[in-house]
């Protein structure tokens, strides 16, 4: 046989509290005191799970890397071996012998 005690108890409570009202101030006060604290919220946030798409992760990684390394690459990197030749009692530094314009007199 099913126990009906909970339903009976509920009916008694409803009957007895039907005329009782809570003031708005009391409601606000109770809600105010029930808010979770900052530490609780931070902990909750830290323990929450997120899902990161792999392409986004790779993109962010690349951006951070570039932010630090791009300025480093802004240099006149000249790894050409320079050669010093003796010309007429002078020393001439030859770095590159590139193309030249034609000359016809």
């Amino acid at each position: 046989m099913k126990d009906r005690f909970d339903e009976e108890l509920r009916a008694i409570m409803l009957e007895e509290t039907e005329k009782i009202y809570m003031s708005d101030e009391l409601k606000e006060s109770i809600l105010e005191n029930c808010k979770p604290g900052l530490i609780y919220r931070i902990r909750a946030f830290l323990n929450s799970y997120i899902e990161i798409p792999v392409p986004v992760l790779i993109g962010v990684f690349a951006i951070v890397l570039m932010v630090n390394l791009i300025p480093a690459m802004d240099i006149d990197v000249d790894f050409n071996d320079r050669q010093v030749v003796e010309i007429g009692n002078s020393q001439v530094i030859v770095r590159d012998m590139g193309d030249v314009d034609g000359y016809e007199d």
Binding site: I50, I52, I87, G88, N89, I93, V94, D101
Partner: protein
């Protein structure tokens, strides 16, 4: 479907922090350590600049110092003697110097507690001494005296003592040196300076004692062997004893070193005995004086004799200097004499400038007028390996279109065919004297297809003294006028000559003449090969004349005889 990674937020934050520390701080430090292991100066300098551009570089003072040191490790001298010349150090450019100065100044401005602070101060003064900027050196000495850092104050007085020595205020210099020695300061530069001061006062025993103390004393600040700018260090007492035995006497040389008429301080004066050294050696000369703030010098006393005198100027200076060579090669010292060294900025070739491709056979050369010049000469440079400009080179005057070597005007026309009719300077190469082959330019002429020929213009006075020239002591290739001959292709015979396969070339041309007895190219080159000889002692003037006459009968051009006449 896009792949996702699921993780807790706190795990992600930890990963981000590790990533930032790794990329931002640890990686740059590892990078910096890596650069310090690189020996190649230019590569290291570029990478130090890369490090300094990183936003999170935390060892900036260290990188600035290392960058400056890699660019200017030591300011060597370019030494000019009456015969030989050469440099004793890296070819440091003005740009390197400017960058190094900026680095040291930033350390002095922003990193007072850096371990590189004192060394930066010292190195900055060394650079300004090398650049002959005595006013800047004095300014830095004054700045150092008011420093709260005792080591900076000491360095300031050390360089003040050096400046007193340069200005021949030996007592003041010695007072400062002795003060610190008596206070127990252990720094070998003190003893080196003391030795130099006594040496220049000709008190050789005292000098030798001071130099001997160097060996048992460490440098105070670093292990750098530089001694006050580019001043070469006399290291031991043995050297002094050898010097006094062989050279010390009572004849002095006085003079002045000037650049465009302005005094050049801190220039070192050397001599070496002509009988002992015939060629330049940076270790072979004897340091006998240094110029004061007025550019004047007075050497220590020397024995009567024949000497070569020389001057050493710092290498960065030499980039824009021409040494006004005198038409004398030996100094006969029998009494006190005056001998001046004059430098000037190089004269300019107005056109053509830099390397240019010659498609025809003539070009016009224009240059700036030099005051007092009686005449100008145009010089060509021939290389042992002409296509990559490596190995040795020879320089010789070439004629203009009219065959003149002494040119009065400031422009002339060079006809490469005319030049090629004239003999050139040549060099021989081979395993032994008997197998030494003549250089190809002697046969082909100065200008042949594919060759690069640097051109130099010199101005002379009536006595033949050099007044100026277009090529400074040190130059960048792009600033030199260079003719690249591209008017035609080399012939098969010319290729044999260029490869120094002379006997094959003779066979080739003789075969050509059997088919065509009027072949001009064959007659030309056979005449030249026999006129000069492709090997030492292998010339045959009769054959040369015979080919020249056959050539003349065909062309009617008497220039074919020029090489035979000379």
């Amino acid at each position: 479907m896009v792949m996702k990674i699921r993780m807790k937020v706190k795990t992600l934050i930890v990963l981000i922090i590790v990533f930032i520390i790794g990329i931002g701080f640890i990686a740059p430090e590892i990078f910096l350590y890596g650069i310090e292991q690189i020996e190649e100066k230019e590569k290291a300098a570029s990478l130090y600049k890369a490090y300094l551009n990183m936003p999170l570089a935390i060892s900036r003072d260290r990188a600035l110092y290392r960058l400056a040191r890699s660019l200017v490790p030591h300011i060597g001298t370019y030494d000019l003697f009456m015969f030989g010349r050469g440099s004793s150090g890296d070819l440091i450019s003005h740009e390197d110097i400017d960058t190094a100065i900026e680095c040291y100044e930033e350390i002095l401005d922003r990193y007072e507690n850096s371990p590189y602070y004192v060394s930066s101060y010292k190195n900055l003064m060394d650079i300004y001494i090398g650049m002959a900027d005595h006013e800047k050196v004095q300014e830095l000495i004054g700045w150092g005296r008011h420093s709260e850092d005792e080591e900076i104050v000491y360095t300031s007085y050390l360089y003040a003592a050096f400046n007193h020595m340069v200005n021949r205020e030996y007592d003041k210099a010695l007072d400062l040196v002795e003060k610190y020695i008596s206070e127990g300061v252990e720094d070998r530069r003190l003893y080196a300076l003391k030795g130099h001061i006594y040496y220049l006062q000709e008190e050789y025993e005292e000098a030798a004692r001071a130099f001997e103390a160097i060996g048992t004393t460490a440098y105070l600040h670093d292990d750098d062997s530089n001694l006050f700018g580019s001043v070469r260090e006399v290291l031991n007492g043995y050297w002094i004893n050898s010097f006094t035995r062989r050279y010390a006497g009572d004849k002095r040389i006085r003079g002045r070193v000037t650049v465009n008429g302005q005094p050049l301080p801190y220039a070192q004066i050397y001599i070496h005995s002509k009988s002992q050294y015939g060629t330049y050696s940076p270790d072979g000369e004897l340091y006998i004086a240094i110029t004061d703030f007025n550019g004047e010098f007075e050497t220590i006393g020397l024995k009567d004799g024949e000497y070569e005198i020389g001057v050493g100027v710092s290498i960065p200076f030499a980039y824009n200097l021409v040494f006004k060579e005198k038409n004398e090669r030996i100094l006969n010292l029998t009494e006190d004499i005056t001998y001046n060294f004059e430098f000037t900025e190089p004269m300019e070739i107005i056109s053509p400038r830099g390397e240019f491709s010659l498609k025809g056979s003539i070009f016009t050369l224009k240059w700036e007028r030099v005051e007092g010049a009686d005449h100008y000469k145009v010089y060509a440079v021939a290389f042992d390996r002409p296509f990559d400009l490596s190995s040795g080179s020879i320089t010789y005057a070439i004629p203009n279109e009219a065959g003149e070597y002494e040119i009065r005007e400031t422009e002339t026309i060079i006809d490469i065919d005319t030049v090629n009719y004239h003999p050139t300077a040549a060099f021989y190469s081979g395993d032994s004297r008997h197998e030494a082959l003549i250089s190809p330019n002697a046969i082909l002429g100065t200008f042949y297809p594919g060759v690069r020929v640097p051109i130099i213009v010199k101005a002379f006075d009536k006595e033949g003294n050099l007044l100026n020239k277009s090529l400074p002591l040190i130059s960048n290739y792009e600033d030199v006028t260079v003719v690249r001959v591209e008017n035609r292709e080399l012939t098969a015979g010319e290729r044999l000559i260029l490869n120094m396969e002379y006997e094959e070339a003779i066979e080739y041309y003789e075969a050509l003449l059997e088919d065509d007895s009027t072949n001009i190219e064959a007659l030309t080159y056979l005449s030249r090969i026999y006129a000069h000889g492709w090997m030492l002692g292998k010339h045959d003037l009769e054959k040369a004349r015979e080919y020249a006459e056959r050539l003349y009968r065909i062309t009617g051009d008497d220039r074919v005889y020029i090489r035979l006449k000379k």
